[in-house]
Symmetry: C2
Subunit: 242 residues, 2 copies
DNA sequence: AACGGTTTGTAACAGTCTGTAACAACAATC
DNA sequence: GATTGTTGTTACAGACTGTTACAAACCGTT
């Protein structure tokens, strides 16, 4: 990573954040949660897993720094990246109700997630009605987000998918207080391609074309958005992630 | 529908069913729920909506008979079928936490869903801890199911997607007590194609080819599975829907 | 039984995306 | 600083799916 790049969206300041950004921005903060649940800070090196499919389900995780990918696995080895998680995102909720985690969650860079042991969370839910609602809302939001990507994957051509993806990344960085016009992608072309149901060469070509159209400027993982409206037009009036 | 067809998987008998088939088959039955929540039976003609995106979110629904499709809509008119719902499936949970429903749910045939007013459900959750867990589990299962389809859509070619879809339909009919080897598809080719992120002609071609391979026998919406293992091989060792 | 409208099937053609391959840029290691 | 491996880019040929068009089957209605 170049010196310039590292200044764009580096490790965040320790600014406090609400639990479960995904939901509607309510008031339950991490300190209230800590009074009921023993929180352990877990650091992960790039490529290391928070958990893997099949491991015993024991905790939820809250991303504190860095970024992760969630991967679905098939018996025959097929693999699919189903999403990327950043600061404030909840991890592990998809496995609630199971004895074992149903997917892999892997750090894309050196990252940190806070471990919330599930039995403690369950007990805390009885005393903090807000927490229960928050988790339910986060799950519902996750369903909506996944479906909104299904809409995107089912109706947009390759180049438009890539454009929609960039807009989503930009919006998420903006939400975290970073620049929406200049950022570093944390995932490889292969992960991006898997998520977008494309091949990595196709993603490269699409990015190059968006670059040639002067809608963005891209060099490897560094992206500058030059024409947001142009990008929105290509993506089809953008995402409707709720 | 032919006389033969109607005998295959017609309106179900009024066999009692557990709440939220999607989850892990627990014990909370519909009678326990009725003691806390006023249940209204809602009938829908084919093509009629249970609710539409934008309508005020007021209730969850439990499919009692028939079948529905869930549709995601984009601002610019793009549309994507994101799933099909049958007896025992919960509808509306994806909109929990919102003021308005986020998608359309439309009956594929004459169907019936039981309305569970959400405020009453919320109150009931305080008295029936099982209910709260059930809804949470159903939501988590919904996330897993959607991701498992993302895996399928992202990694399988057209013909294999259709095969995987047929296996899923067969499994769901089997779960409801119908034949897994002989059933009637309730959705049009267009809905099926939308769900599988294909065009309806491609679905037609794939079905014709599976028919020519003697893996299935298909005539319009009537399907006979002749070679389950063959179908599984084509689909890539089947789905891992949990 | 005849009538439109819808749904489904088939075909030829065109287009996008993919697969392969070679190369370039970068990172990590020695 | 050279080397090795990973990641990303680009070009070209080829396969699959999408497009378009039309015909047949089915449905509900008259």
């Amino acid at each position: 990573m170049t010196a310039l790049a590292s200044a764009v969206n580096a490790t965040p300041t320790a600014k406090p954040y609400a639990l479960l950004t995904l939901a509607d921005g309510g008031q339950l903060d991490i300190e209230a949660l800590r009074r009921h649940v023993p929180v352990r800070r877990c650091k992960h090196a790039a490529g290391q897993g928070v958990y893997r499919a099949g491991q015993a389900f024991e905790a939820l995780y809250l991303v504190h720094a860095g970024s992760y990918k969630t991967c679905e696995l098939a018996d025959d080895g097929r693999e699919q990246v189903t999403g990327f998680r950043m600061r404030g995102d909840l991890i592990g909720a998809e496995s609630i109700g199971l004895k074992n985690y149903s997917c892999d969650v892997i750090a894309l860079e050196d990252s940190e997630a806070w471990e919330l042991p599930y039995p403690a969370v369950l007990r805390a839910c009885l005393q903090l009605p807000e927490l229960q609602a928050r988790i339910t809302h986060a799950l519902a939001a996750e369903v909506r987000r996944d479906r909104s990507w299904m809409l995107m994957l089912g109706t947009l051509a390759a180049e438009r998918r890539v454009a929609a993806f960039l807009l989503d990344v930009a919006a998420r960085y903006a939400h975290m207080g970073y620049s929406a016009k200049h950022f570093i992608l944390r995932m490889s072309r292969i992960d991006m391609a898997s998520f977008l149901a494309l091949k990595h060469e196709t993603v490269s070509r699409a990015l190059s074309r968006l670059n040639d159209l002067s809608v963005i400027s891209v060099q490897r993982r560094e992206v500058r958005v030059l024409d947001v409206d142009g990008l929105r037009t290509i993506a089809g009036s953008g995402m409707a992630v709720s």
